[in-house]
Amino acid sequence: MSQARESDVREDGQIESVSGPVVTAIDLDAKMNDVVYVGHEGLMGEVIEIEGNITTIQVYEETSAVSPGEPVESTGAPLSVDLGPGMLDAIYDGVQRPLDVLEEKMGSAFLDRGVDAPGIDLEKTWEFNPEVTEGDDVSPNDVVGIVPETPSIDHKVMVPPDSEGGEVVDVNSGDYTVEDTVVELDSGEEIKMRQEWPVRSQRPADEKQTPDTPLVSGQRILDGLFPLAKGGTAAIPGPFGSGKTVTQHQLAKWADADIVVYVGCGERGNEMTEVIEDFPELEDPTTGNALMDRTCLIANTSNMPVAARESCVYTGITIAEYFRDMGYDVALMADSTSRWAEAMREISSRLEEMPGEEGYPAYLAARLSEFYERAGYFQNINGTEGSVSVIGAVSPPGGDFSEPVTQNTLRIVKTFWALDADLAERRHFPAINWNESYSLYRDQLDPWFEDNVAADWSEQRQWAIDTLDEEDELQEIVQLVGKDALPEDQQLTLEVARYLREAWLQQDAFHPTDTYCEPEKTYSLLGAIKSFNDEAFEALEAGVPVEEITAVDAIPQLNRVGVQDEWEDYVEELEDEIAEQIGELY
């Protein structure tokens, strides 16, 4: 997070009471949402309520042994993040303290208190390549230079959005730290590579546009049935064990975004470690560079202080917006927004606020929609276009989607990937229920798929949806009378639908090849199942019994398409083989 300077520190106050993460102070001269330092150890906190002379503070660190009478200092500034080169490849806690720096400073694997660290390395030098020359006029968010931050990402240094702009009078080129002045304006303003932004305010943009490009995820069920747009919003609700986190990880790994911000909000420590260990070894399928080069991680695990959990999603989305301003497509994964909502509930109940539904504060819906509204495909004020896509996992208690967090989220997001415990139980992964899920971007995105993948993309998809729907209805009858009581054509439909489920919808996230499936392969595999369907029905009409058709040797090989590297030839040969073998039956 951004550092307070000595001179910023204003009037001292005194602690009046301590109860868990909520501390009240008297005689503190602070504004709402100001960052304050609490107690002798200087624990970081934020002002959340002011009543008369009493200021209520949520503290981002453990408050054991803190006692009334200890001093409280206000920084006079709201919670802000440091923005500049050095954020990619980093791993932060909920208030943007780099966890690796904390480990070093604390000299221990356990998180101590009262240690602060800047969000970006202030000492490190970066190569600044100016994009402006003396005499140029610049306005807010204009790019003044480029820093090659990682092999895949050029970091664009911009005029801060709250600047006045003006004429460039001095430009420095070469290696500088983020605190050195790289461009000077006639107003006397010095532009540095580092800027700050308060996390709870949206960074300004010109105009929000209707998204028309998909965020290709490499997951067949997502790209094929429920696509998400760049700049779109999606929710993944599901009970525990249904694969929310694996789905989020898959998106973080394979989505074709320029930048990925992954917020682990109140989740498991080991899962974050997995990300930290895995990502540096994985390659971005489009650029071939290490995935970590485009990733910024925010890890506030469930046992880290609850107030920092509340702020971590804001820290994440502010960083995402900053990259959006550079003209990048950013994807933000928040796992899980339920933990964020619970953090709000916990703080709210300590403040003894009047609770709304299920003890959540009455402002839950407002906070959720405020957050998701920060997503979008934007025309930036510097003329570039960039997007922030937000994918929020939701962990509904008992897997019950009628609870407040899921319901309030569904009112806002346009893509809904419903995870299903039954599917997970039979190890159908990703356990996304195709009957309950939806994407309102489908029509918007069809033109892209038709132009870039195949002209009959949407028709073929519709065939898959119809077949799956039909299967769903037939299954109800099968439950009552058994499969053999159905007419032959319906039995065949069930068989085709089985391959849709097993070969197409299922995808093995842990298989090196199957983990990522390009849209072309998604299309082609579906095409192979459809051509099996067509051949089979033709044979059925010609009088071949259904048992004979489904016993054809080559058909089960459809299940192996996903794991093929050289899938083009494989699919082609397989289609021919199936046609030939079915043809031999009559």
């Binding site: 453990e62 054991s64 009334p68 480990e103 604390m106 890890a299 003890g359 009378v481 489904t550």
Partner: protein
């Protein structure tokens, strides 16, 4: 700060409110002396400049307004030494086995600090529990937290004991040099009955497991509030043994339901706004602060693995306790009432059970190359068999195809031969997987669509007479 007050203003349930004129730290330890000369310990739950709220561990019985209150000026500490191994302690950490006082090498606050996610090492070493349903299907790895979801009257204690007795880590088995990491078990009992406690202790003593164990006992008739301390003492001890003394520590906590009841009791006494079913809104955070203390740390030999046990009220896994637990832990093992009544030992219901860390802890070099495929295939086949059972109830077995019948047989055999092994049998991972192949070989080869073809060739047990042609 040894100032004494006689300023108690209110006593309510497990809470005592007292006026103070000097600042008292949050979470600080308090001693209250009753008029009879009894000393009770407590902890500051809320501290303001003129009064404090104290949660009394040993119950507020006998405390009156003239009792004196002493603030000890520090948070609760656990006395730590390697000599704790083999000892039995009370729920507040005092020896109750008649042995000598503990001479600590070091004292640590029981509210552990969070492990920096950056410093963690991802768990991927297999722990062999000798239970097929766990090793084969829901593998436990070092540094994992894998709870047992059970119900009242089910033999979860026998399962826990079996695991405590049989658990080994491969390197220990391999008998590397004597300095290698050893295995230790920490047993934290919260609100269990004297009878259960005796059973545990008998078993521990009989099998010699006590030697490598530290036992914390909070019994059903001990004060409920004390239960909020017991798991923290156990975990502090576990962290010490793991990260100072290089042990692989397995922590068994039973029964988490009693722990949560205690949390609710304190919440209610403080008149807090309750969350679901009256449990406090911060229960997720509170539970996470316990469960997340499992793990491995980069550069450290030892590890902390947790098996918390909880009884689901009404066998309902959407109840807040199992629900919140499931969201924090890395999987869960279900103990099932139906299987238990069929006499399956241990009655583990494999379908809803899950080990999230399994994928990285198995395979070549860890367990066996075929492990993942075999377990996947058995899952799928068992799930299919389970589905068909509903149908059999309606149409009868004769109405089903031969293929369906094979799956039904598989599901039956899976329960009676694979899951069923008895609480005294210790199966190695090889035995477990070979047994898996034996069962899978009842199905036609083409049905094994989740197993690599090469592995099928190597391991499939061909039946001499049966035609392999499957009928759809």
């Amino acid at each position: 700060m040894q100032k004494e007050y006689q300023t108690i203003t209110e006593i309510s349930g497990p809470l005592v409110y007292a006026e103070v004129d000097e600042p008292v730290g949050y979470d600080e330890i308090v001693e209250i002396e009753t008029p009879d000369g009894d000393t009770r310990r407590g902890q500051v739950l809320e501290s303001t400049s003129d009064y404090v709220a104290i949660q009394v561990f040993e119950g507020t019985e006998g405390i009156d307004r003239s009792s004196s209150v002493r603030f000890l000026g520090g948070t609760m500490q656990m006395k730590l030494t390697e000599d704790l191994l083999g000892r039995v302690l009370s729920g507040t950490g005092e020896p109750i086995d008649g042995g000598p006082e503990i001479e600590p090498d070091e004292e640590r606050p029981i509210v552990g600090e969070a492990i920096n996610p950056y410093s963690r090492e991802y768990p991927e070493e297999f722990i062999q529990t000798g239970v097929s349903a766990i090793d084969g299907m829901n593998t436990l790895v070092r540094g994992q937290k894998l709870p047992i979801f059970s119900g009242s009257g089910l033999p979860h204690s026998d399962l826990a004991l079996q695991i405590a007795r049989q658990a080994t880590v491969p390197e220990e088995e391999a008998g590397e040099d004597g300095d290698g990491s050893e295995f230790a078990v920490i047993f934290g009992a919260m609100g269990i009955t004297q009878e259960e406690a005796n059973e545990f202790m008998d078993d521990f003593e009989r099998t010699g497991a006590l030697e490598r164990s530290v036992v914390f006992m909070n019994l059903a008739d001990d004060p409920a509030v004390e239960r909020t301390v017991t798991p923290r003492l156990a975990l502090t001890t576990a962290e010490y043994l793991a990260f100072e003394k290089d042990y692989h520590v397995l922590v068994i906590l039973t029964d988490m339901t009693n722990y949560c009841e205690a949390l609710r009791e304190i919440g209610a006494a403080r008149e807090e706004v309750p969350g679901r079913r009256g449990y406090p809104g911060y229960m997720y955070t509170d539970l996470a602060q316990l469960y997340e203390r499992a793990g491995r740390i980069e550069g450290e030999e030892g590890s902390v693995t947790q098996i918390p046990i909880l009884t689901m009220p009404g066998d309902d896994d959407t109840h807040p306790i199992p629900d919140l637990t499931g969201y924090i832990t890395e999987g869960q093992i279900y103990v099932d009432r139906d299987l238990n009544s069929q006499g399956i030992e241990p009655p583990i219901y494999v379908l809803p059970s899950l080990s999230r860390l399994m994928d990285d802890g198995i395979g070549e070099g860890l367990t066996r190359a075929d492990h993942a495929d075999v377990s996947d295939q058995m899952y799928a086949a068992y799930a299919e068999g389970e589905d068909l059972r509903d149908l059999v109830n309606i149409v009868g077995r004769e109405a089903l195809s031969e293929r369906d019948n094979k799956y039904l047989d598989f599901a039956d055999d899976f329960e009676t031969a694979f899951v069923q092994q008895g609480f005294r049998t210790n199966r190695s991972i090889d035995e477990t997987l070979d047994l898996g192949w034996e069962l899978l070989s009842q199905l036609p080869k083409e049905e094994l669509n989740r197993i690599d073809e090469e592995l099928i060739e190597q391991n499939y047990v061909e039946e001499e007479t049966e035609a392999i042609e499957a009928e759809e």
